[in-house]
């Protein structure tokens, strides 16, 4: 469980994170979405106690990170691709981390095995490819078998195999009841991995919701109908409350009714259907729309949830 309350971070005059309040629940993968520079990494560093919040607070399992008794056993994080010394071997890197939290030595071998780095365990990590470095970072995050996991852009630099592996891993970890918080600036990636999403733009919370809800609410969702009797079908659909657009190719784009409803109306008319399909705008578009709005909102904001304080 991660709880952020009014989390704010200023770097000089730059407001990187602005009054973020959200919860990350155990048992599901929670995506952390926002365009480049929206404050995802900064938020994660604050969760890990690496950057001090300017205002607000964030707790992990109800405790400030600095108060955790065995940090590695409670929280694991992959924050950047290469957080290891290039001159140290993968094994040595994990060993020194394991020692800080008194983890058994076999744990290092187990994790190297899990992420598929056993064969290169005694090679200097500086020689690792980006993907191998990412795997070492994932091994470090999982080292203490923590209940809370943070991943900052974990699929960056991975090949399709690696991406599938990470997706599988994240879902598996959440399935075991862990809290999994994973950032990305790609909605499409998140739609395959996450159950819930926390969406931010310019450091502010846009909303916290589920992927399903996001899809369903997408203004771009519509039903495409193609029928030789379109002329008769259109007024019947409008009577049922639909909004219609006639496309260039003669098909109808129906909003406000779902596909079964459209099918029922057509059946009642005895109309022949050549096509009946639900079209959804990509989540990417939904996301763009949301974050675009946030930028406008920000420009106009005078009475936001956290108005700028005096200093």
């Amino acid at each position: 469980m991660i709880e952020a309350r009014g989390l704010t971070k200023h770097y000089g005059a730059k407001v990187a994170v602005d009054g973020l309040t959200f919860d990350v629940r155990p048992g599901v993968v929670t995506g952390f979405l926002g365009p480049n520079g929206s404050g995802k990494s900064t938020t994660m560093r604050m969760i890990m106690g690496l950057d001090a919040p300017t205002r607000g607070s964030v707790t992990v399992n109800g405790q400030r990170f600095g108060d955790l008794r065995w940090p590695l056993r409670e929280v694991g994080a992959l924050l950047e691709a290469r957080a290891f010394h290039p001159g140290r071997t993968a094994r040595a890197h994990l060993t020194m981390l394991a020692q800080t939290n008194r983890l058994p030595a076999h744990r290092v071998d187990d994790l190297l095995e899990l992420v598929g780095l056993s064969a290169v365990a005694d090679q200097r990590a500086g020689k690792f490819s980006l993907g191998m470095g990412q795997r070492l970072g994932i091994a470090a995050a999982l080292l203490g078998d923590p209940g809370v996991l943070l991943f900052d852009e974990p699929v960056n630099g991975l090949d399709p195999d690696g991406i599938r592996w990470v997706r599988h891993l994240l879902r598996g970890l959440a399935g075991e009841g862990r809290t999994v918080f994973v950032s990305s600036h790609l909605m499409s990636e998140m739609s395959l991995t996450a159950d819930e999403v926390v969406i931010i733009g310019r450091g502010r919370l846009i909303e916290q919701t589920t992927i399903e809800d996001l899809l369903a609410r997408s203004a771009h969702q519509f039903v495409r109908v193609r029928s030789p009797q379109a002329a008769a079908l259109a007024p019947a659909l409008e009577r049922e409350g639909a909004t219609l657009t006639v496309e260039d190719d003669g098909s109808l784009s129906v909003r406000g009714l779902d596909a079964p409803d459209v099918g029922d109306v057509a059946a009642a008319l005895g109309a022949t259907l050549h096509e009946l399909s639900t079209q959804s705008a990509s989540l990417e578009e939904a996301f763009m729309e949301l974050t675009d709005a946030s930028i406008e909102y920000r420009g106009a904001a005078t009475d936001g949830p956290h108005p700028a304080a005096a200093p």
Partner: protein, 337 residues
């Protein structure tokens, strides 16, 4: 030429043409360097070939998740200082530059001490006897300390700055958020290594040098006046400089900045101070590490009135190291990692 080097040279007799000792010493140094370079190259090549073979295996999809669980309950208590000490020792030990730096330093330090003493010996008969009187066999043999101070300083800087340049510092603080305890563990582990190493170099230089100063040249033993103090003191001197260097790196975080500051304090500061008016310069110079070191090494001749006595000097240096580390510690807790 800095005071430390000058002191070690104080009794050295200069003469035209290299003696056999010089040739021998140079040969030893060159051979050691060549061997080390060859070993490093071979290791590099092995790394490269194994990596090529290993990459494909490593990029295949990993096995199922079943092994993630630790299978043991979270122990009572919390992470302890001794856990951090163990981790810091692993960190120091497992960066290959540590081993190589120490090995090369031993070789160079002993080699230079051997050169200095053997050369003195080979020219002994041809130097006027009044120069024999001021000859300081202890200081001459400890000239290797000049090399050791830079090596230990560089290691001290890298012990901290290497964490920042590589990003390891964030992994470290994610595992152990108590930054002061991490710093204390690092200082303890590095300080112990530095003391042991510097003392080994000091004693080895001393014994090697004295062994090469065969009759008729005068040589010292540990029971000669001031000899034991000079040997033990020079080891402590180097270790204190190492801790000072680590503190500089904690303050500045960047290798280049900390390293050049450290070298600047040792090599450039004396030159700047020398350029000041004499009375002022002499008063200031006693505070510089190089004069403190020179006084520690010197066992013959009158005490320099513009220098602290050896132990007081060591105390002053320890205060510098403490001060820099206190500032570093404050910055470490205040700054974002």
């Amino acid at each position: 030429m800095t005071g430390l080097l000058a002191a070690a040279h104080a009794g050295l007799v200069r003469h035209a043409g290299p003696g056999h000792g010089l040739r021998l010493g140079l040969l030893v140094v060159v051979v050691v360097i060549v061997v080390v370079v060859v070993l490093i190259q071979r290791q590099r090549r092995r790394d490269r070939t194994t990596m090529e073979v290993a990459s494909p295996t490593a990029s295949g999809a990993g096995p199922a998740l079943a092994t993630v669980g630790l299978g043991e309950p979270i122990p009572p208590g919390r992470y302890h200082f001794t856990d951090l000490v163990r981790a810091e020792w692993t960190k120091l030990r497992t960066v290959r530059s540590t081993t190589w730096t120490l090995l090369v330093t031993v070789a160079l330090g002993l080699g230079i001490s051997a050169i200095a003493t053997a050369e003195t010996r080979s020219h002994w008969a041809s130097t006027p006897s009044f120069q024999h009187v001021g000859f300081d066999p202890t200081a001459t043999s400890l000239i290797g300390i000049f090399v050791a101070q830079f090596a230990v300083g560089a290691l001290g800087v890298l012990a901290m700055s290497g964490e920042y340049s590589s990003g390891t510092i964030r992994a470290t603080f994610s595992a152990a958020p108590s930054r002061l305890r991490v710093l204390a563990a690092k200082l303890l582990v590095f300080g112990l290594l530095a003391v042991v190493f510097a003392e080994v170099v000091a004693f080895a230089s001393f014994f090697l040098g004295q062994a090469l100063l065969t009759s008729p040249a005068t040589h010292a033993t540990l029971s000669s006046p001031g000899a034991l103090r000079a040997v033990v003191g020079s080891g402590l001197f180097v270790a204190a400089l190492g801790l000072l260097a680590l503190g500089l790196a904690t303050m500045m975080r960047f290798t280049a900045a900390a390293l050049s500051t450290f070298v600047g304090i040792l090599l450039v500061a004396p030159l700047i101070v020398q350029a000041l008016p004499t009375t002022l310069s002499q008063d200031i110079r006693r505070f510089l590490p190089d004069r403190i070191g020179a006084t520690i090494l010197t066992t013959t001749g009158p005490h320099n009135p513009f220098a602290f006595s050896p132990w007081v000097g060591l105390g002053v240096l320890a205060l510098y190291a403490l001060g820099v580390n206190v500032v570093g510690a404050i910055l470490l807790t205040r700054r974002d990692a």
